[in-house]
């Protein structure tokens, strides 16, 4: 059975493919090619939901993204909510419900809000919920707001892709102007991307335009076919340019890409050399009392439903207009069988229009205005005030309004590279590019006639291809017939006859003309403030239909022209875009680029718990044995190092190979201490500062031979240090002749540490002497270990004898296995970063991210003795000295022993005077359970800390006060005899 409002013929639907669906429990039928909105109208359903604030009955207003709120909730096939019915394609078996209504749109309990409307003026919640506090009311208010409800489970997870694109010319809009522009650019050989919401053709697809004496659709079909066959053109139908950003960077959402059947969305990030905005124009309504009744629609939408979807939205229609295009809608309705009356606000619409209406049997009231609508779930009548003030009540089931056309300039203003100006002739705003990288064409540029659109589109295409250095061809444009495009003086709204009448100016947010008046009376004299105070333009349509009306009305209230009021700021996205479409496949393992060392598989195979150790490197945190928690494992590993030997994966440590005669000068500029005199084969610990005189990083730099040096950075600071080095060489000291090669991943690093480390190294069969005499602390040896080329550094970050064995990653696992085998008789243990942390705190070594927190300098951390007394300068010197002179009372590194030896102190805990709730005098930077002392120990930064050794200070943690004794910040191997053994 055919739906009641479906026309017997015509339209672009596939009548051979009926589709059954349900809405609010009713079984309905549509056709392939329908949107949900067209199918609902075809079934006589105009009430689609309830309004945002007042729960008033609402229906379908538009036929595209300009619709102000025909939202539906999809129960199946893919549960999702707040979907715009006017752009949601119908699918067989769909089950839909209305939003913001319970139990249904027809019988909504929330409708009682209408009786409270007097208490809910603009900004009522800012004024009302101030005492005792907003948070008291927030849950209830949020519960009432929000329109649809997210599905509890099985929410639709679209399959999406995000990709980049490049082109010579991007054309936004595939109507007459866009098609002409794309055709010129394509024939010029330019790389073209043509984007359109629909299937191309724009209004030509459904408004009966004739080109070359044939239906315009035939011209559209020919052009589209040519463009599809052109290799340098990419056609993106069902796609929307949703953002136009700086430097011709555009974001486009492509729905159901033709070339990828498994994709729901593809988000394009396109860099275009030239952009042509041919996005058309959006019809604006004329507001009047109770103009939100279902069945009151834009005239352009009515034409689309009649001509494209073969649906008659009403059998007794009123067309309230001040435009010629409104008359065209009336003729389309009449041709489809409706009884039509035109109410034209213009006193002289033109004899030609009047004659044409008369010939069609359409009554036309010139100089009249609709002032009020009646009906509840659907409009049933309107009051019309005639030219002489006489009042008429006309029964109807459809009101089509046409108050003029607003060029879709939104995209043009996204990147702030267009001047916006008011057009008196159009009664709307136009955008003018301030540079040559983009241009507007067609209705988007205020030209409403088909011939103008075609010509301007072709002109824009020519200009674009010439701007990219190509020769533009001349194309033959189709011949057009003259068409009336007149627009009368703007009629933003018809004034209500009483205070109780509501004239809705923004249906999305239930904003009325009274709200605008209130905002202006209360002093909000900027359109941006009016917008925020009333929420006009902040609803689901983002003001696409109502914005210019709002500006016009505010101008009237302030006795200012719209040009003086100006527009609000248009921002991306131009249409709603699913977050998933933007994210693409970036989730799960594709979310974050973790880095792995060549030993990762070994670690995982041996049960390591992995964690980030800085700069996205994954390192073992600990290796739990049966029944061990992380603290048990870390303590066991640390104890093994203190008593015998352990090994850890130090691969992520940053490494930079330096060469050149300028290296000594570079290092002396970089570090606070002296490096120029370092001998080949030896290393030195250094601290580098930022320009601000604060610690940037620390590490050991070795002089490998006469020419080459190897600079180590901490893991997390490697990129920062590299950038710092390059900045010095390229900006500050380009005279220094130095080459830098990052070699972090060129070496796998296995560090053996503990009193038996030398025994293990010796067992690996090195071809060099490993004894302390010939291979002392802070030196490097290059040779072979069991035949494998290796570079071994004698440094320590554990407070024990340590050797860092660096080999090519291809040998990493073999060398590691040999270390484990050689150390087996000593009970060697692989250790993770937690044990490392215990060991370095015991030894009093500083760590980036703990003591080096971006606010400390070398003196603060007890390293002032390193500062060169001979160098005249190094980076950060003056800033550090100046800061210390201005405020000599600084936080200083100290050791802390909780009075309760079993009491751990959370890292970061503030230290306050006697634990009071007062300004802090320091903080705990690290706290571990020491394996050397069998008690809790900590490091911290304490104001004037070194002078306070012996005092008791207090950490304040969640109201708990932890007393701690201040001690020297070294708990193990204070004389470094074990390290230097």
């Amino acid at each position: 059975m055919s739906p009641t409002a479906r026309l017997a013929a015509g339209g672009e639907i596939d009548r051979a493919r009926p589709l059954e669906f349900r809405f609010d429990g009713r079984q309905l039928i549509g056709f392939a090619g329908d949107t949900v909105a067209s199918a609902l109208i075809a079934n006589g359903v105009h009430l689609t939901g309830r309004s945002f604030k007042l729960h008033r009955p609402r229906g379908i207003v538009g036929a595209g993204y300009e619709d102000s709120g025909a939202l539906v909730h999809r129960v199946r096939p893919q549960p999702a909510t707040n979907l715009l019915a006017t752009v949601l394609p119908l699918e067989a078996g769909m089950e839909l419900t209305s939003v913001n209504a319970w139990p249904s749109a027809a019988f909504d309990v929330g409708a009682m809000m209408q009786f409270l409307s007097a208490l809910l003026p603009a900004c009522f919640y800012y004024k009302t919920f101030m005492r005792p506090g907003w948070n008291w009311f927030e849950p209830a208010v949020r519960g009432l707001a929000g329109l649809g409800r997210l599905p509890d489970r099985d929410a639709w997870q679209p399959v999406t892709e995000s990709r980049y694109g490049h082109c010579d010319a991007l054309v936004a809009g595939g109507g007459p102007a866009g098609l002409a522009a794309a055709l010129v650019a394509a024939r010029a050989g330019a790389r073209v991307i043509l984007v359109d919401d629909g299937p191309f053709g724009g209004r030509l697809a459904g408004d009966g335009t004739v080109l070359d004496e044939r239906p315009a659709a035939r011209w559209v079909t020919g052009v589209v076919a040519e463009l599809l066959a052109t290799a340098n053109v990419r056609m993106l139908p069902r796609s929307t340019v949703w953002g136009y950003h700086e430097h011709n960077y555009l974001t486009v959402v492509e729905r159901a890409p033709r070339d990828a059947p498994d994709l729901d969305f593809r988000n394009w990030k396109i860099r275009a050399r030239q952009v042509i905005i041919a996005a058309g124009a959006i019809e604006r309504p004329i507001a009047f009392a109770d103009n939100d009744r279902p069945g009151i629609m834009l005239a352009s939408a009515v034409r689309t439903y009649v001509n494209h979807f073969a649906v008659l939205p009403g059998r007794k229609a009123i067309v309230f207009t001040n435009t010629d295009s409104g008359h065209a809608a009336a003729h389309d309705l009449a041709a489809a069988g409706a009884s039509v009356t035109i109410v034209d606000a213009r006193t002289e619409p033109g004899q030609g229009l009047l004659d044409a209406a008369d010939a069609r049997g359409i009554a036309c009231h010139a100089g009249a205005r609709v002032c009020k609508a009646y009906g509840s779930r659907r409009v049933s009548a309107v009051d019309v005030v005639g030219r002489s003030g006489e009042m008429m009540r006309l029964a109807c089931d459809l009101v089509a309004t046409s108050g003029g056309w607003n060029p879709a300039i939104h995209l043009a203003t996204h990147n702030r590279e267009a001047r916006v100006s008011w057009s008196e002739a159009l009664g709307g705003f136009l955008a003018e590019p301030v540079n040559g990288s983009f241009r507007l064409a067609g209705a988007a540029n205020g030209h409403l006639g088909t011939a103008e659109c075609l010509e301007e589109g072709a002109r824009a295409g020519r200009a674009a291809v010439e701007a990219v250095g190509r020769i533009a061809p001349t194309i033959n444009l189709p011949a057009t017939r003259s068409e009336p495009t007149g627009i009368g003086p703007p009629v933003w709204a018809v004034a209500p006859r009483g205070k109780r009448e509501k004239v809705f100016i923004d249906l999305s947010g239930d904003v009325t003309t009274a709200d605008l008046g209130l905002a202006v009376r209360e002093g909000f004299d900027s359109i941006e403030l009016v917008k925020r105070y009333t929420t006009a333009g902040m609803g689901v349509d983002q003001g696409k239909t109502g914005n210019v009306n709002v500006i016009g009305i505010v101008g009237g209230l302030m006795n200012a022209a719209p040009a003086a009021i100006g527009t609000t700021t248009f921002r991306p996205p131009f249409v709603p875009v699913e977050f998933g479409a933007i994210a693409g496949a970036r989730s799960g393992a594709r979310l974050y680029p973790w880095r792995h060392t060549p030993l990762t598989e070994w670690h995982l195979a041996h049960g390591a718990a992995m964690a980030e150790a800085g700069l996205r490197w994954q390192r073992p945190r600990y290796y739990p044995q049966a029944g061990e928690g992380w603290l048990d494992a870390a303590t066991r590993e640390a104890r093994t190092v203190r008593t015998s030997v352990g090994v850890y994966d130090g691969t992520p440590l940053g490494k930079f190979q330096l060469k050149g005669p300028g290296v000594p000068a570079l290092l002396d500029l970089l570090y606070v201490n002296d490096f120029a005199a370092l001998k080949p084969g030896r290393g030195k610990y250094g601290v580098m500062l930022t320009d601000d005189g604060l610690i940037l990083d620390d590490g050991v730099t070795f002089r490998l031979d006469a020419a080459r040096w190897l600079l180590h950075s901490s893991t997390g600071a490697a990129d920062r240090v590299h950038q710092h080095l390059e900045t010095i060489l390229n900006v500050h000291r380009p005279d220094l002749d130095v080459s830098i090669i990052p070699v972090t991943s060129a070496f796998a690093n296995a560090t053996i540490c503990g009193p038996r480390a030398r025994d293990v190294l010796r067992a690996l069969d090195p071809d060099f002497d490993v004894d302390g005499g010939p291979f002392p602390f802070m030196t490097v040896r290059e040779g072979r270990i069991g035949g494998v080329p290796a570079r071994v550094f004698r440094v320590s970050w554990t407070g024990e004898l340590s050797y860092e064995i660096n080999t090519a990653p291809r040998h990493a696992v073999a060398v590691w296995d040999r270390i484990m085998a050689a150390g087996a008789r000593f009970g060697i243990a692989p250790i993770g970063s937690e044990a490392n942390h215990i060991l370095r705190v015991e030894a009093g070594y500083i760590s980036t991210g703990h003591e080096v927190d971006g606010t400390s300098d070398v003196h603060d951390l007890g390293l002032g003795g390193m500062v060169s007394k001979t160098k005249t300068d190094f980076i950060g010197k003056r800033s550090m000295e100046l800061r210390r002179r201005l405020d000599p009372v600084r936080p200083e590194l100290v050791g802390l022993l909780p009075v309760d030896p079993a009491c751990p102190v959370p890292e970061g805990a503030p230290i306050t005077p006697r634990g009071a709730a007062a300004d802090q005098e320091g903080f705990v930077s690290a706290c571990v359970t020491s394996v050397a002392l069998n008690r809790s120990i900590a490091l911290g930064l304490l104001r004037s800390g070194r002078a306070r050794i012996g005092e008791t200070v207090h950490a304040r943690v969640y109201g708990k006060i932890i007393p701690m004794q201040v001690v020297a910040p070294v708990f193990h191997d204070a004389d470094r005899s074990r390290v230097k053994a």
Partner: protein, 196 residues
């Protein structure tokens, strides 16, 4: 995911992804005139311009990746010979340096008509044949990671992506995902309607 349809067995794009066998690789850094002189001294050709390469996969290939950066690669079995020759030549330059970085990187080959579509999901680089002609080689970003992308002369329909070893697993996974492997064929509401 809900309402999953049958697994998609074919890739979304017609590509073949391959992790290539390692090649000997040397990173050279220094003043451009020193680098060019050093390459000449080593008997190696020099690319004509920045961001291009010369040579072949089967032999020595030189990529000019930046004003102060060349990469010399060669079959792995020639690592010692090529490395030794480069070391000897660069020893004669005070500030130009070379380092063996064979183990630092992993190279993937993306071949087939869909190769550009896969790459375009991760890199803002214009990899179209007009902008990125055969023999082009440049450093860029791929899914947030620094990589070198090359278009070999021998097979202009394919791309080589060289990434630091620590990121190799991440990039390999992304290439597979971007190619369409493993995604579910889930006919969405639009698919059923628009595609008929």
């Amino acid at each position: 995911m809900s309402a999953a349809g049958p697994p998609m067995t074919a890739r979304r794009y017609a590509v073949a992804l391959r992790r290539l066998a390692p090649r000997a690789r040397f990173e050279a850094c220094g003043a451009p005139e020193d680098l060019i002189a050093a390459l000449h001294a080593a008997g190696l050709p020099v690319p004509e311009r920045h961001n291009s390469s010369i040579g072949s996969d089967g032999d020595v290939r030189i990529d000019w990746l930046g004003p102060r950066r060349f990469v010399i690669s060669a079959p792995l079995e020639r690592e010692e010979a090529v490395g030794g020759a480069l070391e000897a030549v660069f020893a004669g330059f005070a500030a130009a340096d070379v380092a063996c970085v064979t183990d630092i990187v992993v190279t993937f080959e993306i071949a087939g008509p869909g190769a550009a579509d896969v790459l375009a999901q991760g890199t803002p680089l214009d990899v179209g044949s007009a902008s990125f002609a055969p023999a082009s080689a440049t450093g860029t970003e791929l899914w947030g990671v620094g990589v070198v992308v090359e278009r070999p002369i021998a097979d202009p329909a394919s791309f080589l992506v060289t990434v630091e070893r620590s990121y190799a697993g991440y990039i390999e996974g992304w290439l597979d995902t971007a190619a369409g492997s493993g995604s579910d064929l889930k006919p969405g509401v639009m698919l059923a309607c628009w595609r008929g």
